[in-house]
C-alpha cells in the first residue's frame, strides 16, 4: 500500500504547484481525518497498512482547493468510519471509501463543494479560499478567486477550455484535476507492479473516448470532443486510482472489463444528460454497488469443465 502512497507523491506535488498551499492543507486535513478515525476504531495497528492514508490522500485530491479544512477532516473521518470500518475494515468494504467520503461532503456542503478556485497565478502563496473557516462555520468566499470548472463552463455556458490547459492541468477544478499526463504515468507504473488491474482504466478511458467521439461527430456544438472529455474533470484520477481500488473492484479479469466499461458509460451519461457537470464519482460508486453481482456473473471456468474431446 505504501508504494501507492509513494506514487501519489508526484501528483500531490503537482497539485501543490498548481493550486498553492491550500491544496496541501486540504489533503493534509483529509488524511488526518482518515487516520484519526482508523486509529480510534480500526483494528489495532491497522493504520500501519497504509490504506487509510491512501484513502485520505485520494479524498483530498478530489476536493476543491478552497474547501474549509474542517470539512475535509470530516470527509476523511466519514470515508473511513462509514465507508470502511463499518464493513469490517480493510478488504471488506463495498464502496470506495474515498469517493463515499466525497459524495458525503458534496451532499452535505454542496455550495462549498461547487465553488472552484482559479489556479494560482503569480500569487502562489495565497490561500485559494477560506480554508481556515472555523469548524461548523461556513466559509466566506472571496468571489474574485472563484471560477467554473471546464466541464461546468462547457455544459452550462457553452464555452470550451483550451485542450492544452487541461492536459497540463492549469484550469480550475479539484485539487487532483491537475496533469492527466502525470497521473497516467504513475498509473502505468502501478499497473506494471501489479498494484492495479490495467483492464479497468483502459476500459473506462476507451469507453469514454469512443462515446465522446461518437456524440461529438453528431453535434460538435453540444457535445465535447473525446480529448476534452478524457482530460477534463476527475476522470483520469478516478480511472487510474479510484476505480482500481482492489477492494471495491471485481476480482475476475472479465469482471474488470465490464466494470470499467460500465463506469465509462455512466460517466458519459451523467456528464451529457445529467444534472451534474461531473459524474466520475457517482459512476464509480454506482458500479461499486454492482461489483458483487459482476463477480457472481463472471466466475472462472474451472479446468476440466469442458468434457474432454479425446477419443483414442
Amino acid at each position: 500500500m505504501w508504494t501507492v502512497v509513494a506514487t501519489l507523491a508526484p501528483i500531490v506535488a503537482a497539485a501543490t504547484y498548481v493550486f498553492g498551499p491550500s491544496a496541501l492543507l486540504v489533503m493534509f486535513a483529509a488524511t488526518v481525518g482518515a487516520l484519526v478515525i482508523e486509529h480510534a476504531f480500526g483494528r489495532p495497528g491497522s493504520v500501519r497498512d497504509g490504506s487509510a492514508a491512501i484513502t485520505g490522500i485520494l479524498l483530498g485530491l478530489t476536493l476543491p482547493p478552497g474547501l474549509p479544512l474542517w470539512m475535509a477532516f470530516v470527509g476523511g473521518g466519514f470515508a473511513i468510519g462509514f465507508g470502511k470500518l463499518i464493513f469490517g475494515g480493510l478488504g471488506q468494504n463495498i464502496f470506495n471509501p474515498a469517493l463515499l467520503g466525497r459524495a458525503f461532503l458534496q451532499a452535505a456542503f454542496p455550495v462549498a463543494m461547487t465553488t472552484w478556485a482559479l489556479p494560482a497565478g503569480e500569487t502562489w502563496w495565497q490561500l485559494r479560499g477560506d480554508n481556515l473557516a472555523l469548524p461548523l462555520m461556513s466559509p466566506t468566499v472571496p468571489d474574485a478567486l472563484t471560477g467554473a470548472t471546464p466541464l461546468g463552463l462547457f455544459k452550462f455556458e457553452q464555452t470550451a477550455t483550451p485542450l492544452w490547459d487541461l492536459v497540463i492541468g492549469s484550469s480550475s477544478g479539484s485539487v487532483g484535476e491537475t496533469s492527466g499526463a502525470l497521473i497516467l504515468l504513475c498509473g502505468a507504473y502501478l499497473a506494471l507492479r501489479q498494484y492495479l488491474n490495467w483492464r479497468i482504466p483502459v476500459g473506462v478511458l476507451a469507453t469514454v473516448a469512443l462515446m465522446a467521439a461518437g456524440l461529438h461527430a453528431l453535434d460538435a456544438e453540444r457535445y465535447a470532443g473525446p480529448l476534452v472529455m478524457l482530460f477534463s474533470g476527475g476522470l483520469m484520477l478516478g480511472a487510474v486510482y479510484m476505480a482500481t481500488d482492489l477492494v471495491t473492484s471485481p476480482v475476475t479479469n472479465r469482471g474488470c472489463w465490464i466494470f470499467g466499461i460500465g463506469i465509462g458509460v455512466l460517466v458519459v451519461i451523467i456528464r451529457v444528460w445529467g444534472g451534474l457537470a461531473e459524474g466520475v464519482m457517482y459512476a464509480i460508486l454506482l458500479m461499486n454497488a454492482l461489483v458483487p453481482f459482476i463477480n457472481r456473473a463472471t466466475q472462472p471456468r474451472r479446468f476440466g469443465a469442458r468434457t474432454a474431446p479425446h477419443t483414442p
Binding site: 476480482v251 472462472p300 474451472r302 479446468f303 476440466g304 474432454a308 479425446h310
Partner: protein, 441 residues
C-alpha cells in the same frame, strides 16, 4: 495436434535446486532402527505378517497387501522385529508400524532375486510382480503402481507419460535419478509399456534439467517410440493434469483421472524404481530422497532405507543448523510440516526440506483485499478468493458447490497472495470437514 508444452496460469517460485542439483546420489549408513508403517500408500493399509521377536532379512515381506487397492511392505534392513504398534506417522497422527532393530554388523545382503525376471512373463504376471514388489507412485500420492498398470478394459490407454518435471523447489530426486540412471528409467518405461500395451511413451522434463534431458536423450531405445520433451519451467508443471495438458493438449475432465483421456502418468523416480526392482530383483525397500534447505548442514541426495527415522536421516547430512525452523516432507509448496523427529521416511517421501526462519513465510497475514491475483494463478481456474472467505465463515457446503473438490492444494494462490493468507490450509480443512460430514451422514 501441436502441444503447448505448458499450461495456463501457475506461478514461478524460485527453484532453489542448486543446493543439491549437482550433488551425486550417495547411500546413507543403516540406522539402528527402522520403522515401517503399514500405511505408506493410497488404499488399504498392509497387514503385518511378522511377530515381535522374529528375525527378518533385507527384502523380506513383513506386511502383505490387503486386497487389490493395497501394497505390501518389505523389511528395509536385516534385523529383529522389536514391536508392532502405534508410532508417529508423517501425517502427524500415530499409525500401526513394524519396528525393526537393525543388526549392527550385518552385510545387509538381500536374498537373491525376490522379484522374478520380467522377460518371459505375461503382462498380468508382471503387474502381479509389481504389486508383490510393493512399488507405488513416488511422485506424490504414493498410488499403487500396479493399479495404474491395469486400467479397466473400457478405458483404452494410448500414452504413457513419465513425469520428470519435479516442479517443487529444492527437490532433485527425479532429477538425479534421471541423470544418473537413465537406463533404469528406460527399462521401467519398457516394462510399463509392455503391461499397458501402449505404443507411445513421453517423458516430460522441465527445461531446468539439461543434464537429465541429455542423459535420457543419449540412451533412448531405438526399438520403442519414446520421446523426451523439455517443458516450460513453471509450477505446478508436475501436476499430472497440467503435464498432460502440456504434452498432449488434453484436458482431464474435472473429477476424472488421467486414464479417462487415455493416459497413465508415472513419476520418473517411480519408473526408475520399477526398472531397478526388476534389474536387481530386490523389492522397493529404499528410495532416493533429497535432503535440502538452508536449515541442514550438508544437503544431499541420499539412498535411504524406507522407514529410516527423520532424526537419523538428518544426522547423515551433518544435522541441523542453528537457525533451522521448520521441517517439511516433500517440497515447500505442497509438503507436510513435521512435528516429530521420530517420523519415518516413507516410500512416497520425495524429499526432506529444512527451512530456516528466513525462508518460511511470516505468520502475520492480513485480510483478503480482493486483488484477484489468486484467480489468475490457480491452474484449475477456481476462485480461491471466494473459497477462502467461505472457509473463514465456515460455510463448507457452499465451497463444495464452488468446486472445492477440484482444488489440488498446489498452493499457487497462497504463493501470490499479497495478504499472505494460508489458502491451501483453509481448503484442506474444508475438505476434511466435508469428508467427516459425509462420514457422519
Amino acid at each position: 495436434m501441436v502441444a503447448p508444452l505448458t499450461f495456463r496460469h501457475g506461478v514461478h517460485p524460485p527453484d532453489l535446486k542448486a543446493l543439491t542439483a549437482t550433488v551425486p546420489i550417495r547411500r546413507m549408513p543403516f540406522p539402528e532402527e527402522v520403522v515401517l508403517p503399514l500405511r505408506q500408500h493410497a488404499g488399504k493399509p498392509a497387514q503385518a505378517i511378522v511377530r515381535p521377536g522374529d528375525r527378518v532379512e533385507r527384502g523380506d515381506k513383513v506386511g502383505t497387501a490387503d486386497g487389490w487397492m493395497s501394497s505390501p511392505v518389505h523389511a528395509s534392513a536385516t534385523g529383529t522385529v522389536k514391536d508392532i504398534g502405534l508410532w508417529p506417522h508423517p501425517d502427524g497422527m500415530y499409525a500401526e508400524a513394524i519396528r525393526i532393530a537393525v543388526e549392527p554388523f550385518s552385510p545387509q545382503a538381500p536374498r537373491p532375486r525376490l522379484v522374478p525376471d520380467w522377460r518371459g512373463l505375461t503382462p498380468q504376471q508382471i503387474v502381479q510382480a509389481v504389486q508383490d514388489a510393493g512399488v507405488v507412485g513416488l511422485g506424490g500420492a504414493a498410488f499403487p503402481t500396479h493399479v495404474k498398470l491395469s486400467p479397466p478394459k473400457e478405458q483404452p490407454i494410448d500414452v504413457l507419460v513419465v513425469n520428470g518435471c519435479e516442479c517443487e523447489p529444492y527437490l532433485t530426486t527425479d532429477h538425479r535419478s534421471m541423470a544418473e540412471y537413465p537406463e533404469r528409467v528406460h527399462l521401467g518405461i519398457r516394462i510399463m509399456m509392455r503391461c499397458l500395451g501402449v505404443a507411445r511413451a513421453m517423458i516430460g522434463v522441465e527445461k531446468n534439467k539439461p543434464d537429465a534431458i541429455a542423459a535420457l536423450q543419449a540412451t533412448l531405445p531405438d526399438d520403442l517410440d519414446v520421446s523426451v520433451h523439455p517443458v516450460t519451467v513453471k509450477y505446478p508443471q508436475g501436476a499430472e493434469k497440467m503435464l498432460i495438458a502440456a504434452l498432449l493438449g488434453r484436458e482431464v475432465p474435472s473429477g476424472k483421472l488421467p486414464l479417462h483421456v487415455g493416459v497413465v502418468v508415472q513419476n520418473a523416480a517411480a519408473v526408475a524404481t520399477i526398472g531397478e526392482v526388476f534389474e536387481t530383483g530386490l523389492p522397493l525397500v529404499e528410495r532416493i530422497v533429497t535432503i535440502s534447505g538452508r536449515g541442514v548442514r550438508r544437503p544431499a541426495n541420499l539412498i535411504v532405507p524406507v522407514g529410516t527415522k527423520l532424526r537419523d536421516v538428518l544426522a547423515a547430512c551433518g544435522g541441523l543448523t542453528d537457525d533451522a525452523r521448520e521441517i517439511v516432507f516433500g517440497g515447500p509448496m505442497m509438503g507436510a510440516a513435521q512435528a516429530s523427529l521420530d517420523a519415518p521416511i516413507l516410500k512416497g517421501t520425495t524429499g526432506v526440506v529444512v527451512l530456516t526462519a528466513a525462508d518460511c513465510k511470516p505468520p502475520q497475514s492480513y485480510p483478503c483485499i480482493r486483488c484477484g491475483r489468486c484467480l489468475d494463478s490457480c491452474p484449475v481456474f477456481l476462485n480461491p478468493q471466494l473459497l477462502s472467505s467461505l472457509a473463514l465463515a465456515g460455510r463448507y457446503d457452499e465451497m463444495a458447490v464452488h468446486d472445492l473438490a477440484d482444488c489440488m492444494l498446489c498452493g499457487c494462490c497462497a504463493y501470490v497472495c499479497p495478504s499472505n493468507l494460508p489458502l491451501p490450509q483453509l481448503f484442506q480443512l474444508a475438505k476434511t470437514a466435508l469428508r467427516r460430514r459425509k462420514a457422519v451422514a
